[in-house]
Amino acid sequence: MHLIIRQGRIVDPTQRMNRIADLGIEEGRVVEIAGRIRTRGRTEIDARGLIVAPGFVDMHVHLREPGREDAETIESGTRAAARGGFTGVACMPNTQPVNDCRAVTAFILERAREVSRIHVYPVGAITKGSRGETLAEIGEMYRAGIVAVSDDGHPVQNSQVMRRALEYTRIFDLPVIDHCEDKDLAAGGCMNEGYYSTLLGMRGINPAAEEVQVVRDTILARQTGARLHIAHLSTRGSLEAVTRAKKAGIAVTCEVTPHHLFLTDADVAGFDTNTKVNPPLRSQEDVQALLKGLASGKIDVLATDHAPHTLEDKMQEFDRAPFGIAGLETAVSLVMDRLVGKGIISLERMVQLFSVNPCRILRLADKGTLKPGSWGDVTFIDPELKVEVRSAEFLSRSRNTPFEGWRLQGGPVRTVVRGKTVWSL
């Protein structure tokens, strides 16, 4: 056997498994899980004390290439992802040029083949240039390899266009990922509208700017029967809308980011632009609702919305700095410490949120599971690892984290893709 992972705690909800066992991989695929595999592997990994999980997939990442290679490249972004415990990332189309046609999709996949040791799953634009006017050539991009469509960052304002997108993607069974934001309601805001925006005198983004789009989308998804995925859901009202829609049988799923779980708008008070993100950091009330939703299963996915920006871009006046946080290299440790460690979610639930559900939503065949026959993509986590967030050590080209200096317990120690170690501590 090519690789045997010895005596790790295998946590795989798709097999209702949470036990110490050996895992064998051959030709890049899982072939056996047993208490003790008798044969010897060409390579063996001692996983005693470690959690062995199906490879984590971050379904919301900005790799910036092509166009802003000074902030991130496919190479640096995927290295950061591997260090963060991810065996795959879905990259958003708001590059320059926008990934709205087959050529850009093909370029991204070609670059990924050359420089990335993990999987890269491109997300195509919904509309040409993400301008929200006419549908992009979704079929062409689908043939080139996109796994979803989204106009992330430039959300479709015109409801008729959104309706057409939801109808059209049914041909390919592609999910439509929406960054829900009514641009008129958001009105040029740069933080959550509430007490802190009032105190700090900054233009606020009303929670309603997100919520009206979530509700609009669920109505359109019901009519069209399409698959809708709400990106970086951040308010209590949005979660209520998604929960209502699910109860009504609408095919909607949603993700939340770590920063919307562990920070609030109170953290903006020092005018640190590393707390400027869209959707904005919300109120304590919203955070509580999201944490409850995670525990009760109302939220499907944890995704980082990894949005690298250069120091020059971030070291500006708050209202001029771009939105975004580099999230790939902190997400798993944050979730281990603040959610699993505090008993808010179980290990199994974490694996669902980071692996099983994103793979299911993106229809990634034989991924998000360690069942024999599936791909040997494995994330190793040491629950005892002491982590201090130091952006200087990031493999990402950017350093824009609001978690600098946080001390956390638990984190990724090794990432294996198709049976090969692509990163280890």
Binding site: S197, T198, G201, Q316, F318
Partner: protein
């Protein structure tokens, strides 16, 4: 309390009641400098102040300049239009360059909230906020407090009505924070589109009716509509605004007979305030301007390490 805790004056939010009182008492003492034939004291001799006005300003800039001159500081003026900020230099680089000239004070006016806070993180010199976006304008609140205290002999227990475009006003925010800290009964009033719904948590009572705001008020502070900060239509027309919220003589009858009227300027006559009221006996608008110099002198003096001022020390 004999000095300020911070090296900077970023906002009223960071000041304690004792610090506010210290500044006001110091300003009272320094005010007499303006009454002398030679309007200058050597308190800041050998110190340098840089006035970095990235957003246009006449009143505040000249007031700071005069305050610095009366304390004998050396002055360097930067205006937005002539500085390298128009050549694409970032604020941080501008700040670092200015810092290399080793000034003692950087007085900054900027259109972005938090710009002085950004500066204060990289500068050793004292950063004084002369207005940052829609956030704070602490020296304006201090001069307003000085004026109120002078006229009413106290601040605690007074009903202070701030009326107008609350949402876009740093004067309203700093004023609310200060007067609330000092124990006044602060009311903010304007159309709901221009009054943030969370304002009550800053310590103000909110009303959308001007009569309720004026009833029994000791101090009426009028604000102009800040069209330049409004990126959408908050109001149907200025005429309708004047009908609903304009300060007229008839409306002023609701306030206490000895109520005073304030305005931070610039004033738009016929929009938020009738000329007769603005120029009437209750108006203290011009006294606010002269108090502005004293309040800013006090801030500069205290930040330079000056202990609580004993008025007799100033008398020669």
């Amino acid at each position: 309390m004999a000095s300020l805790r911070s090296k900077d004056l970023l906002g009223i939010a960071q000041l304690s009641v004792e610090e506010i009182e210290l500044i006001l008492n110091t300003a009272d003492a320094l005010k007499q400098v303006a009454e002398r034939p030679v309007k200058k004291v050597p308190a800041l001799r050998g110190k340098t102040a840089i006035n970095l006005f990235v957003e246009p300003s006449t009143r505040t800039r000249s007031s700071f300049e005069l305050a610095e001159k009366r304390l004998s500081a050396d002055i360097l003026n930067f205006a937005a239009s002539t500085s390298s900020l128009t050549k694409g230099e970032s604020l941080m680089d501008t700040a670092r360059n200015l810092e290399s000239m080793a000034p003692d004070f950087i007085v900054i006016r900027h259109s972005a909230a938090g710009a002085p806070h950004l500066l204060s993180r990289v500068c050793r010199s004292s950063v004084i906020n002369a207005g940052d976006g829609m956030h704070e304008h602490p020296t304006q609140a201090l001069l307003d407090a000085l004026t109120v205290r002078e006229k009413k002999k106290r601040i605690e227990g007074l009903k202070i009505a701030i009326i107008g475009d609350i949402a876009h006003s740093r004067v309203a925010r700093s004023g609310t924070l200060l007067f609330h800290k000092m124990g006044a009964d602060v009311w903010v009033c304007g159309p709901p589109t221009l009054v943030p719904w969370e304002y009550h948590r800053l310590g103000a009572k909110i009303t959308y009716g001007i009569d309720e705001a004026l009833r029994g008020a000791d101090v009426v502070m009028m604000l102009r509509i800040q069209h330049e900060r409004q990126n959408e239509a908050f109001l149907p027309s200025t005429r309708e605004y004047f009908n609903l919220y304009g300060l007229t003589r008839e409306r002023m009858r609701l306030a206490k007979p000895d109520a005073i009227i304030m305005h931070p300027g610039p004033m738009n006559r016929g929009v938020e305030i009738e000329s007769e009221v603005a120029d009437g006996p209750a108006s203290v608008i011009l006294e606010q301007v002269s108090n502005g110099v004293a309040a800013r002198m006090a801030v500069l003096y205290l930040l330079s390490g000056g202990a609580g001022l004993k008025p007799e020390k100033l008398r020669r």
